[in-house]
Symmetry: C2
Subunit: 211 residues, 2 copies
């Protein structure tokens, strides 16, 4: 297909596609004449992935380049590649770390049989330790007890997420689905969690007749 | 107790307590002499709640005043009060609404037997419709299919949240627990979800030997 159709099928404007080509985020098309290049479905998939990383993941062009380089490494498993991308689209926590909260996170990871030597080694563990530190700072030391039931509920959600992307054929499509599913999913989960709260609280906490 | 002990037991500095007193967020203590007031456990509970709303919920002083007024209304059930507070600590979505995403949200609420006439009526439904609109804008129309499994997982989490706060005695304590649990819980869920992804993906998606 020509660049116009690539734009139409991806929803990405032609000038943006040309910018991605110049920045090396999209491989050049095959020249069919001095002024015309031909693009295929590989380009379309890569373009959708780049757009997800930039628009949904809010990644810089340099960070997108790093992610693509990791994906294009042949040796790693898909699982490992997804882990790298997940780390790239996650923000570390901001705020002070309470040593007791750090210990809570390490104990949680040990219970799960997961390796974690230092919570600052990854954005995910750092985010978790920061949140538990914030809970401790307002006197909620027992918040750590929620980690196990949270993980139980989140495994159901993760299974749905993996089912959602696992039918996709190419690595680019799977990674694109993971970026969208992880980041837009965070917002969806935040909202649906409030509905779940309302449903459970209606059963448990109502202390008078409903109107 | 005197203001110094109130400060010590709550972790809130004396000048901040005095500011809350001036703003009417904390009822005045009982004067035991012209210069000395006495505070009780009610004050301590209210102070912790105000701090959670300000520090964790990031609410303005005016918004805190509204929340407290709602809590101090005698007629409503606790369930209804929690709903009001939940709405106060939630942000509406930002971004354009896609009419098809709005229809997805309304259909989801109908399936759940929940009332929702207009997604912009509440911050929670607006947040959800905005997130699904963002998914549609990058070609993920089927994201709506994740809503039901997400709710299933989030009910487990909501049950843990309600158990966490239900043992608390007073309405102020329950509401304080809900504010902390909802907002700090959002960050914890975000992090633990990534661990759950890694665990599920390791089982399902590994396409080669792990190192």
């Amino acid at each position: 297909m020509r660049v116009g159709e690539l734009s139409k099928r991806s929803g990405v404007p032609v000038p943006t596609i040309k910018y991605y080509l110049r920045e090396g985020l999209l491989p050049a098309g095959v020249l069919t004449s001095p002024n015309q290049a031909h693009y295929d479905d590989e380009h379309l998939r890569r373009l959708r992935l780049v757009r997800a990383l930039v628009d949904v993941g809010d990644l810089s062009i340099a960070a997108v380049r790093d992610v693509l380089a990791a994906l294009d490494t042949r040796d790693d498993t898909l699982h490992k590649k997804l882990g790298l991308v997940q780390e790239a689209i996650s923000q570390p926590g901001t705020g002070e770390l309470d040593p007791l909260a750090v210990e809570d996170v390490l104990a949680f990871f040990r219970r799960q049989g997961e390796e974690c030597a230092d919570v600052t080694d990854s954005n995910v563990t750092h985010m978790l330790a920061t949140a538990l530190s914030a809970a401790r700072s307002v006197g909620h030391d027992h918040f750590r007890e929620l980690l196990d039931p949270y993980l139980e509920g989140l495994k159901i959600i993760a299974q749905a997420d993996v089912d959602y992307i696992a039918t996709r054929g190419s690595t680019d499509d799977i990674v694109e689905g993971m970026v969208v599913g992880t980041l837009i999913g965070d917002a969806v989960i935040k909202a649906v969690r409030r509905l779940a709260h309302a449903q459970v609280s209606r059963k448990v906490l109502s202390d008078g007749p409903e109107d």
